[in-house]
Symmetry: C2
Subunit: 387 residues, 2 copies
């Protein structure tokens, strides 16, 4: 099956009486997933790359050429002649289960009641998201997945791909992601959740139709934005500059106005309940769950793995990516580490993709084997500790 370049499409499965079995034991159906594809699937069905989006991302990873004026969130990273070259690869990017941008989530209508699921939507996990993507790839005729690539929550999906489908996936590139959500990350998520759920307009999740807890979601997003930045980035971008006379009410420093702007922007495009569900999916992400060690957890992975960390990431600091590579190597998995030297914190995977693009293009082009041949990490002369 070959496909033309397309804009957003929808795939619906698990029609009654079928139910899509979730990790928590519940069933869900029907399940719709919105997705976009770039390039063509080859006859063998083995040149596909899945790109997994982060918390508030979507399937529009890049524009679709002439006539598509909407830039994607990795616009310069994916496309013809770009690092993820759509003249060579068939790229699929799908909205995540539990989200609000075309995939089934808490704002979707529950066919059993005719009302939005709201908080009756089942708890979904990163594994559930990936299993939906697998159903989609089967539908699209993908026989073997060349690579899965993603940053942040997208990187968690990449790791889940590698663990759940060892014989299907060839290369995994998780970027700025942990092998398990740390208690600090859980704590930050909980503050965002509480801001949303304590907003009276949340109404236990039953605010549809309508925007619902816009204040709570804005506060949660403001906090999120701080964790995506770094201290150095904020010093550079904002310093202590003020636009208006300071008051106790806040909003006078440039950094405050930036946060307010980001909060209002997200409220216009994102569903608060989805925010709760996706935050929770990340909290629950733990490759080691129920196992003795991370080494044991990754032992069945067959994909070659390129782990990318960001030097200034305060949300998922680089020790978390290094811990992952160490465990992969101990488990006999072919794994490499590359670190983006950036002041932009976690956000660097979105704002400075050019820094990691050469590594990723090389890794993909050589099926990860070239990195091995080059004895890549740590490369000679690099001062990073050997792990």
């Amino acid at each position: 099956m070959t496909r033309e370049v397309s804009a957003r499409e929808f795939y619906t499965f698990a029609h009654p009486p079928e139910r899509f079995a979730l990790e928590n034991g519940e069933g869900l159906g029907p399940v719709t997933v919105a997705y976009e594809t770039y390039g063509r699937l080859n006859k063998a069905g083995d040149n596909a790359i899945v790109i997994c989006h982060a918390l508030t991302g979507d399937s529009h990873v890049a524009s679709h050429g002439a006539g598509d004026t909407g830039e994607g969130w990795w616009e310069n990273f994916v496309g013809p002649g770009r690092p993820v070259d759509t003249q060579r690869y068939f790229v699929v990017c799908a909205n995540v289960l539990g989200g609000c941008q075309g995939a089934t989530g808490p704002s979707s209508t529950n066919p059993a009641t005719g009302l939005p699921y709201a908080m009756t939507f089942p708890t979904v996990t990163v594994r559930d998201m990936v299993r939906v993507q697998k159903r989609l790839l089967d539908h699209l005729g993908v026989k073997r997945l060349l690579a899965a690539i993603g940053g942040s929550m997208g990187g968690m999906q990449v790791l889940e791909w590698a663990r759940s489908y060892p014989d299907f996936l060839e290369m995994a590139i998780p970027i700025a992601s942990p092998a398990r959500h740390s208690p600090q990350a859980i704590a930050l998520g909980e503050v965002g959740r509480q801001a949303i759920m304590r907003d009276p307009k949340w109404r236990n999740g039953n605010y549809y139709p309508g925007k619902g807890p816009t204040d709570g979601l804005a506060v949660a997003r403001m906090l999120g934005m701080i964790t995506y930045e770094s201290e150095a980035a904020m010093l550079t971008k904002f310093g202590r500059r003020m636009d208006v006379e300071p008051t106790v009410f806040g909003g006078s420093f440039q950094v405050e106005r930036y946060l307010a702007y980001q909060g209002e922007k997200l409220v216009k495009r994102f569903d608060a309940n989805s925010y709760l569900y996706l935050l929770r999916a990340m909290d629950l992400f733990d490759l080691t769950e129920g196992l003795f060690s991370l080494v044991e957890a990754v032992r069945t992975i067959k994909a070659r793995v390129l782990v990318v960390g960001i030097s200034s990431d305060i949300l998922y600091p680089t020790w978390q990516q290094k811990e992952l590579v160490e465990a992969l190597r101990k488990a006999g998995v072919v794994a490499f580490y590359r670190e983006v030297d950036s002041i932009y914190g976690h956000d660097a995977f979105l704002v400075e993709p050019e820094k990691m693009a050469p590594w990723i293009a090389d890794f993909l082009g050589g099926y990860g084997k070239n990195f091995l041949a080059a004895g890549i990490w740590p490369a000679a002369g690099e001062k990073k500790e050997v792990i």
Copy 2:
């Protein structure tokens, strides 16, 4: 004037028609300050030490001996035979202006209206807090202040003491404090402020009598607690342990329950408007304001300064204390740096005072001059960079 050991006392000044002139140009009066003293002031009036409390702290830095069962926030640090030895020093700890624990603040009654000030209370600064303390010390008969000691917002007051009263203060010991609030710290404060002000129960600050925006304040405190911890501390204390089955609603991980507990605890004892005012005072703290450089800002300081940093502090990272010491030294001020090696983050100044106690006791005992004689920092063999 000598004084007996006492419990909490009150001093009120700026009775009409006098007005206490604030940094922002407004006047306030009368001003009441609640304070506690320990030990006796000597005849020369020159053995006094001021201890400055942090954001939600109060004047009860330690208990007052037999019969006083209420432990203070630096109980083992201040008292007879303790590092700040009240057999030798006359210790004064006062509630800060703008707070809610005995000093005049937004919950106080405005004599002009007979109603609580609420948000008509003027913007107060760290300098205003210190100038209130100076009035108190004059009242108590202190002729020369031997030392000012404090952590976090308390350390900002210490630095302000050194800058505002160069001929009055002999030694300054700011702990885990910056020379100016960073944009990241301002941003974190703004999220807390927004959580409070977007709570409908805040009612533009007019919620008295009553607790007001308890949800907003709890969320703000939860965020604050994360910044007082460190990633390592949270891993050690909570890990990913859960007490109950996870749900989307949060509250199942131990770290979530810890934050919820801390939020509820603060709501019972702290006024939300005071929280807004004190956060803002910290944001506005900037020794360099209006000046060319930090070196220029500290040039008039005559006190000998011992700056203490905490290795794992994510709120005011150690580069901020090192920057301060570097500037002090360049300006010709006698200044030293000591770093507490702790996993407990910013909170270490409260939970591990024993780690810094020997330095502080030595510094006080030798009037800071012994550190100079010992050529203390960096001591031989230490690997810290010389600044």
